[in-house]
Symmetry: C2
Subunit: 129 residues, 2 copies
DNA sequence: ATACATGCAAACACTTTGCAGCACA
DNA sequence: TGTGCTGCAAAGTGTTTGCATGTAT
């Protein structure tokens, strides 16, 4: 019994998608909202949050959950890893290949079904050193 | 200029430490608080949060940041990975060896100082299948 | 026509903090 | 005896939701 949802293509949704695709620095929801507010002050924050979630579920953007603070979003939908700067809070791509077989390495363990994994690095970015 | 703190050994702190050490199921702060409340109703939630943080900084317990929901704490202080059940929310140890050299694999990249990493798995535990 | 989306504000979950009094070292 | 700790309540942060209205299909 899947929840079949026919997503609509509203103006607000298009604005959110476009905005994320034009931001290359892994913005969080609030940053996306601030950016949108400048040009479209009528778009509410709830709508931004709702659409980010829907677009991520549709696979049009990537949702990057964070271990601390706000989650981020990425126009690059291919699974990849990130590092968060401990000083400025910035999020950057990491060029470690995606470990697609890391789950199978532990599958032997008790009947767990392992579905996904995230690796999050922490450190200091060049600008903050 | 390090912040030198002389931590005191208060009754409340001992209670928090003991409670975490007696819980083997990776409790979050609120769960620790609930457990403590039953025997020591006078201990406040703020004190539990404060002490969990201090004890983790002291290395007496392990703080496990989570990608969603509340952070957990572990009496086992050796760095290791965890899997969170998507259905029951339970957190369990994973028997993947700690990848102590994973940072060096990407150190060549632009002047990042990579200090730590976390791998968090998601899936379904045996009981929830 | 009707299911889905919106704006607003309020609620929510988790955590931290200001403050006055208390207690360990 | 002084700094660190406590309890309490309030505030903070990030996110979701209830509801009445609006709109894409």
């Amino acid at each position: 019994m899947q929840e079949l949802k026919k997503n609509r293509n509203t103006l607000q949704r298009r604005i959110v998608l476009e905005t994320v695709q034009n931001m290359t620095n892994h913005p969080d929801a609030d940053t996306v909202y601030e950016k949108i507010s400048k040009e479209h002050p009528l778009v509410s924050k709830a709508t931004v949050y709702r659409n980010l979630k829907i677009l991520a579920k549709q696979g049009l953007i990537l949702h990057i959950p964070m271990l601390d603070g706000a989650d981020c979003f990425d126009f690059n939908c291919l699974p990849h890893y990130h590092i968060k700067c401990r000083k400025c809070g910035g999020v950057f791509d990491v060029d470690l290949p995606y470990q697609k077989d890391i789950c199978s390495k532990i599958n032997r363990k008790r009947g767990f079904i392992i579905e996904s994994h995230q690796i999050v690095f922490s450190g200091v970015c060049p600008d903050c050193q």
